[in-house]
């Protein structure tokens, strides 16, 4: 067993753990007794027993590869991956710079791809893995002003469905949760009336909560959920 091995304790990797949903999920997993590895471009700014933070961009292939190698060496296993890291940019398409498109696709889509690829290599060793990618209700609601953000998450959804088929033989499931707006930095700059308009389009008319996301993630990552893969689950009653 490698030094510092997690032994029987499941290991979860969550991206974008400095704040928001990522931090909530990391702390939620820790409370459930899991070992948690997290990452963000900057230091986490918080600490907890059982938590290790990595500073990297999820779109940096060498950095991602190095992080997964480090996890394998220190802990000897990876059970769960939640691709939460994401950026948004609210803008009319006709006013959106090309650089914004590159940045959003890099983080939201390429980052998810790279993490899934390297994590699945580790999970394959033990013939077990649970991958949860994060999308958004901006995809099915086709929200104006969020074209690139929604398109990048559409890519995540399609990628996840195909990946689910490709890694099923390795005992790995891949599912997607699509949250509604939650009070995070991601929507801080979205006008209040726009958020109210989105909420009116939900079946359950309120902002989302971190707990709502964690509930779906918990369902997807249960060992018993081995027969559930390639699914996209939207919150708030959006279909």
């Amino acid at each position: 067993m490698p030094e510092g091995s997690a032994g029987e304790t499941p290991v979860a990797l969550v991206t974008g753990t400095r704040k928001g949903i990522g931090r909530y999920l990391a702390e939620h997993f820790l409370a459930r007794g899991l070992r948690v590895e997290g990452c963000s471009r900057e230091p986490a700014g918080w600490e907890a027993p059982g938590y290790t933070h990595h500073c990297l961009s999820v779109a940096d292939e060498a950095g991602v590869k190095a992080m997964l190698t480090d996890i394998q060496k220190r802990l000897g296993r990876l059970d769960i991956l939640v691709n939460n890291a994401g950026i948004a940019s609210m803008n009319h398409v006709l006013l959106t710079p090309d650089a914004t498109a590159v940045k959003i696709l890099d983080t939201n889509f390429r980052g998810t791809f790279l993490l899934c690829r390297e994590a699945a290599k580790l999970m394959r060793r033990r013939k077990y893995g649970r991958i949860v990618n994060v999308s958004t209700i901006a995809v099915p609601l086709q929200l104006e002003g969020e074209s690139l953000y929604a398109a990048s998450k559409s890519a995540v959804e399609t990628f996840s469905r195909v990946l689910a088929r490709e890694v099923a033989d390795f005992g790995i499931t891949v599912n997607v949760v699509g949250p509604t707006p939650i009070e995070t930095d991601l929507i801080r700059n979205v006008p209040k009336d726009k958020i109210a308009g989105i909420i009116q389009r939900l079946a359950v008319k309120r902002l989302g909560r971190f707990e709502d996301v964690a509930n779906v993630v918990d369902f997807f990552i249960r060992p018993e959920s081995e027969y559930i893969t390639g699914q996209v689950l939207y919150l708030g009653g959006v279909a």
Partner: protein, 113 residues
């Protein structure tokens, strides 16, 4: 993080050929009628008409080889890189070609470390 100290000492061509064969055999172990593990040589075809592996077998073999390089030699490589996938003569065509490609990537990485 991806450095490979004393590359010349730790990675001989013979060791890499053995490592590639071990990875391919691991992938073949999952096949229905695997060939005799001792029958694999440098000339064994990995892709194409007379290949010993199917597509999923090739994926498994590549991952097993990457894993062995990391575990046994501390060499962290992505074998299926852009060059590998676009080369006219695929480095995945035979055991020997793949061993050469591993050595080439490892040497490049060592030079950059």
């Amino acid at each position: 993080m991806t450095s490979t100290p004393n590359l010349e000492n730790s990675l001989s061509r013979a060791a890499v050929v053995d490592l590639v064969i071990a990875g391919v055999n691991e992938a073949l172990a999952m096949a229905e009628n695997p060939p005799d593990p001792a029958s694999l040589t440098e000339a064994t075809r990995l892709i194409g008409e007379s290949a010993v592996l199917d597509s999923l077998g090739l994926v498994t073999a590549v991952l097993e080889i990457e894993q062995r390089l990391a575990d046994q030699h501390d060499v962290v490589l992505v074998l299926a890189d852009e060059r590998a996938m676009s080369q006219k003569h695929s480095p995945f065509r035979s055991v020997g070609a793949l061993a050469d490609y591993v050595l080439k990537l490892a040497a490049e990485q060592g030079a950059h470390a």
